[in-house]
């Protein structure tokens, strides 16, 4: 069976086509294309502009995906789209595109939970069987494990998401948003050497990032104004912007690894799967690897094609639901900004 997947819950618009072989086995990715709305340095992406971007690009991307996959409309079994969570206006523009294609091509629709899309794609690509999942992106920070037909949230960020914290700090420093603010922070962090003291906020399997952001924003102001050149306590060297990027990464990723480890100990699992855009950070992957090794476990991660928002994950998770008989009636094919991971009844797993 073949599904078309449309994703546009944030600033990436993705379209993918996936095939599940009739007798089971690994899924085939027929095409996976994406176009990102990049805002200028110092600015975030606004819902209105992002929605406009998605409307402008969706037809082009669907055409391109169909062409790359060399498929005809008749080959497609269902059209899957992101129902939520995400930003309202961008979600809507993609849901409208999905409805239109559904009517035009006479296909069933499947509304997909974005987070479940990430998890299922990560499992499919890496082969991780029953991992603890760390889902980290611009809008989400969750530690998840599967139990009795649901992906259960063991821990999460209590205020802003880790990706949001990174993105906003990039704006403070006026770092480029191209290709992604987090990526550019990572490059700068490689030049940093001094660790500045930041709040470390972990409560059980939950964590919080807004206090860290507030503290480091203040430090950044001082560095920029070169006010008396704040010095490192040990070496007496001046603290640089690179040091701030380094300190931010070391602190927030340590928190993420810690809450993941706590969930692993609690559920007795030794596998970790990292999904979501922040999951492409190599320092986070490295830290998680060290932690897992000390637990005799292993880390699974995917590259940017799959961990950054994409259409193929929506196609894949949607097709899993479709194969177990779930579809979304036309009149129910809405979208929603809030849609918790544990609301989805996971029929396709044991």
């Amino acid at each position: 069976m073949i599904a078309l997947g449309l994703e546009g819950s944030a600033n990436k618009l993705g379209v993918g086509l996936i095939l599940h072989p009739p007798k089971g086995g690994a899924a085939h990715i027929l095409s996976n294309v994406r176009h990102t709305f990049v805002s200028p340095p110092g600015e975030g992406f606004l819902p209105k502009d992002t929605a406009k971007h998605h409307r402008l690009w969706i037809i082009r991307l669907v055409r391109q995906a169909m062409k790359e996959a060399a498929l005809r409309v008749e080959d497609i079994n269902c059209i899957c789209y992101t129902k939520g969570p995400g930003m309202g206006a961008p979600l809507q523009s993609v849901a409208v595109a999905a409805r239109m294609l559904g009517l035009l091509w006479e296909k069933k629709l499947v509304g997909v939970n974005h987070c479940v899309g990430h998890i299922e794609m990560g499992r499919e690509i890496t082969g991780a069987q029953n991992p603890v999942v760390l889902y980290v992106s611009g809008g989400n920070t969750q530690v998840i494990a599967y139990a009795s037909q649901r992906y259960r949230i063991f821990g999460e960020a209590l205020d802003i998401a880790v990706g949001n914290c990174l993105d906003r700090f990039a704006r403070t420093l006026r770092i480029s948003n191209d290709p992604a603010p987090g990526y550019n922070i990572e490059q700068m962090a490689k030049q940093g050497r001094h660790l500045v003291d930041l709040p470390y906020a972990v409560k059980g399997m939950d964590c919080s990032f807004s206090g860290i952001l507030a503290s480091i924003d203040i430090l950044a102001e001082k560095v920029d104004a070169n006010q008396g050149g704040r010095k490192d306590d040990l070496t007496n060297e001046v603290i640089t912007r690179e040091d701030l990027c380094f300190s931010l990464q070391e602190t927030v990723y340590a928190m993420l690894v810690e809450i993941t480890e706590r969930a692993m100990a609690h559920v007795g699992s030794s596998q970790v799967l990292i999904v979501g855009g922040v999951g492409s950070n190599e320092r986070l992957q490295e830290m998680m690897g060290i932690m897992a090794r000390n637990r005799r476990g292993s880390v699974f991660a995917t590259d940017e094609r799959f961990c950054i928002d994409n259409g193929i994950m929506i196609a894949h998770a949607g097709l899993l639901a479709y194969e177990t008989g779930s579809t979304t009636a036309f009149e129910d094919s809405t979208c929603t900004q809030r849609f918790r991971t544990d609301e989805v009844f996971v029929k396709w797993r044991e």
Partner: protein, 291 residues
């Protein structure tokens, strides 16, 4: 792509335990620590060694700061709880720089193990359950679980009453003591010790009398604990426990109501905390989740 699958480095014991005879036995790897069973002063006196090895994944400066802080706050909280009559293992010794703490051995199972065992018994012979919260074991097992839930609620209530919030309340961090009579050690002094970091001596008081023969709840793992009398902090503590329950024991989720009921009756001011919990829950559900 799988990033690592190298066999783990053996984690060495901290001195002086490298010279303990017989050598400490590794019981389990918790969320942060390695838990060994060893003995204190006399071979006949069992105790638990909690070692927080350096976490190689985090920056050494940050690691030192966190490890030190957590050992000290765990020990302080245990001492305070002990003094106030909350059931916790007494602290025997510690070295915050080296990352270890020695405490009384708790003979029992974690509540998580108890609930999981009860659930799998309850499940036998039942059909598939598609919905949450409707799992019912046989009446007898349900009763046993209910009694247990009540004990949990009262134990957490006692702790909150004395002004301690745990910070990581899960069913892995509470134990059900099977044979409480053999549990309490005689009062101890560690006059022989001279490890400059200062050692704590457990109060040596007996654990409270158990009300049910099935055992008593002992709270453990206070590394993230804090002292607070704020309703908000207590409510968040309960919220953490509620979610840990919901995600770990979906079938026992209904039983959590019994935890809260018992909590509500356990001390003056508990009802206010329960009302605050409703606000905390609402905030949790409203939390925006952008993709």
């Amino acid at each position: 792509m799988e990033i690592t699958n190298v066999s783990p480095l053996p984690l060495p014991l901290p001195p002086p335990f490298t010279h303990t005879h017989p050598a400490p036995t590794l019981i389990t790897q918790g969320a942060e620590a390695l838990l060994y069973r060893t003995h204190f002063l006399r071979p006949a006196h069992p105790c638990a060694l909690k070692h927080r090895p350096a976490k190689a994944y985090r920056h050494p400066t940050l690691d030192k700061r966190l490890t030190r802080h957590r050992i000290l706050s765990e020990a302080r909280t245990l001492v305070k709880c002990r003094r106030e009559g909350v059931s916790v293992p007494g602290v025997l010794a510690l070295d915050a720089e080296a990352g270890w703490m020695l405490m009384e051995w708790v003979e029992g199972r974690t509540v998580k193990e108890v609930v999981v065992a009860a659930e799998s018994k309850g499940k036998k012979g039942e059909g598939e359950q598609e919905r949450n919260g409707e799992g019912k074991g046989e009446a007898g097992e349900d009763d046993g679980l209910r009694v247990l839930m009540g004990k949990i609620g009262r134990a957490v209530g006692r702790m909150h009453e004395v002004g301690v919030v745990h910070g990581d309340l899960t069913t892995s961090n509470m134990m059900l003591v099977v044979r409480p009579s053999q549990q309490s050690p005689p009062p101890l002094r560690n006059d022989g010790r001279t490890d400059g970091e200062g050692s704590y001596v457990g109060g040596g008081g007996r654990l409270e009398e158990v009300e049910e023969e099935e055992g008593e709840i002992v709270l453990i793992d206070f590394g993230l604990a804090a002292q607070s009398l704020q309703d908000e902090d207590k409510a968040v503590d309960l919220y953490v426990l509620e979610r840990a329950f919901g995600s770990t024991h979906p079938e026992a989720e209904a039983g959590f109501r019994e935890v809260l009921r018992a909590y509500g009756e356990s001390y003056r001011g508990a009802k206010v905390v329960l009302r605050r919990l409703e606000d905390v829950r609402l905030r949790g559900r409203k939390r925006s989740m952008l993709g």
